[in-house]
Symmetry: C2
């Protein structure tokens, strides 16, 4: 089995992507510090390019490929933030991006990918159709698949988020991170291990999509079946490259209810005056549910993104 | 007539209030810069203490008073951000704050003032009742009235916002600012005059509450009668201390429709991922309506606050 991404590969990713992404701010809130008796540092990836941390991995993947390989383009199936992030990264390197999207994807997401110059191929809205269509696109174009999370270059890119947080706010006692496919969590766990050994990484997951929690407790991958949560960025199941990193370097995984996620989301809008997507609220929901002991500790919290339907806020 | 606040009085206010307020960040947006062909710098008072620039003036007023006068407390009639800001400033100086509020004020605003330790006296929801009740409260307590905008200490405090913007983002060609009573606008115009002579200040006002526009064009104070706008922070009419400052140092006043305000508000949530109140969106609405020529210019925009009913966003 291939080695985990190294410390050097994350430092390289950090250097590689810097010209193309925002170094997002770290915000604090006196209200939340008082509320939880802790020192919370929020890493604001909602302010990132394309509105989510996904820009980091996508840029790293596209810009670390050799010229002769990458010139045929990159491809993925996605209707979410990864599709936009990959289309944007490809345009920055002036190569084509082929995006397979389900026919029923929201128009706003289709438009966003088109705005970044992505070539969209529509398919039936099933995982099977998406994978088969992607295979056909790749055969026809010679493009390279860039998986949204089960890919070491992606994991290295996402790792730069925790690296920046550690550099800008100091090494925290705890680092809280939402988990879906495990790209962000895997990268966060590696960065904590390499750059801040005292930091314990705790993953936070919706109850309705708790495959990471169950897999972590069982010690083997147990994919989600019909996951359901308001945190639509976390519906995916853990990737096979992500899982062993998480087993090794994540201290614990806790789950939270959708009700707490909505409450945490509302609190962040109301008190911090920032726009986040439900997935970003999952770590604060874990504090509301007393699932993590943060008393007196310094706590980094990754707000993963801010792409939300403003006409349908859940509170 | 008393002189306008001096350069030195604004520098003193800046030094006086610094321990008690946030130095709020200045954000930029590539999307908006491309959209308008300009370089926009957003001064984020939505991140300010109490969620609005009002904290600046209130702290300056309370902390610049002599001990023997201030110990009897401060008083105002307000159901908005000034009431909370004054209650907070008074608590910081451990003196009482007496707030007269209309009986029908929203519970959330009543709770907020109480949370800052304010003593509330309720009255009938008319301006006459508010003024008479305030007079009674002051007679009984010996407290000093702190008007929300028609007060030089308040104007000096609000002036520190533009001063910080100029220090942190450089002297802009234009400074755009919403106008209600003229506390923020008066302070902004003075700071531009003292600290950045090349900067032209342009006030932006809702069509439905256009007393500043009409007064500016007529050269005499013309109060609003039954103003109506979604920008509820801008319903008040210009103060008599504010008007001459504005006549002297503001370059122009433009008006915008509520429809453009809502559109600008949505754009700021969607693109900048921050929560603002409608009043904050008025300057960007002026750009959407092509009311200000910003092409190729550096433009400071003051986002005045972020206190909004999240359950009733207008888009």
């Amino acid at each position: 089995m291939k080695q985990f991404p190294s410390k050097e590969s994350i430092i390289s990713a950090d250097r590689r992507i810097q010209p193309y992404i925002h170094r997002t701010p770290v915000l604090t809130s006196d209200t939340f510090n008082r509320m939880f008796g802790a020192f919370l540092f929020f890493k604001c990836e909602n302010f990132q390019k394309v509105g989510a941390f996904k820009s980091r991995g996508a840029v790293n993947a596209v810009f670390s490929m050799d010229e002769e390989v990458v010139s045929a383009g990159v491809a993925t199936h996605s209707s979410g933030n990864h599709a936009q992030a990959l289309a944007r990264a490809a345009r920055l390197r002036t190569i084509p991006a082929y995006i397979v999207m389900p026919r029923n994807a929201p128009q706003v997401k289709i438009d966003a990918v088109r705005n970044y110059g992505g070539n969209i191929t529509f398919c039936e809205p099933t995982l099977k159709a998406r994978e088969e269509t992607l295979k056909q696109v790749i055969e026809k174009t010679g493009a390279t698949e860039v998986h949204p999370y089960d890919n070491y270059r992606i994991i290295e890119g996402q790792a730069t988020c925790a690296l920046e947080l550690i550099e800008d706010a100091g090494a925290p006692d705890l680092l809280l991170c939402p988990v879906g496919g495990g790209g962000l969590l895997g990268g966060t766990a590696l960065s904590a291990n390499y750059f801040s050994r005292k930091t314990e990484v705790i993953a936070c997951e919706p109850e309705g999509a708790d495959d990471a929690y169950r897999s972590f407790k069982a010690g083997r991958l147990m994919p989600s079946i019909n996951p359901k949560t308001i945190a639509d960025g976390l519906l995916t199941s853990l990737g096979k490259r992500n899982f062993p990193i998480i087993m090794k370097y994540v201290k614990d995984i806790v789950t939270v209810s959708d009700r707490s996620i909505v409450e945490a989301m509302r609190l962040i809008y109301e008190r911090m005056k920032i726009v986040i997507e439900p997935s970003s609220a999952v770590p604060l929901a874990a504090l509301l549910e007393n699932k993590v002991n943060v008393k007196g500790k310094t706590v980094g919290i990754i707000l993963s993104g801010g792409n939300v339907d403003l006409k349908n806020l859940p509170f």
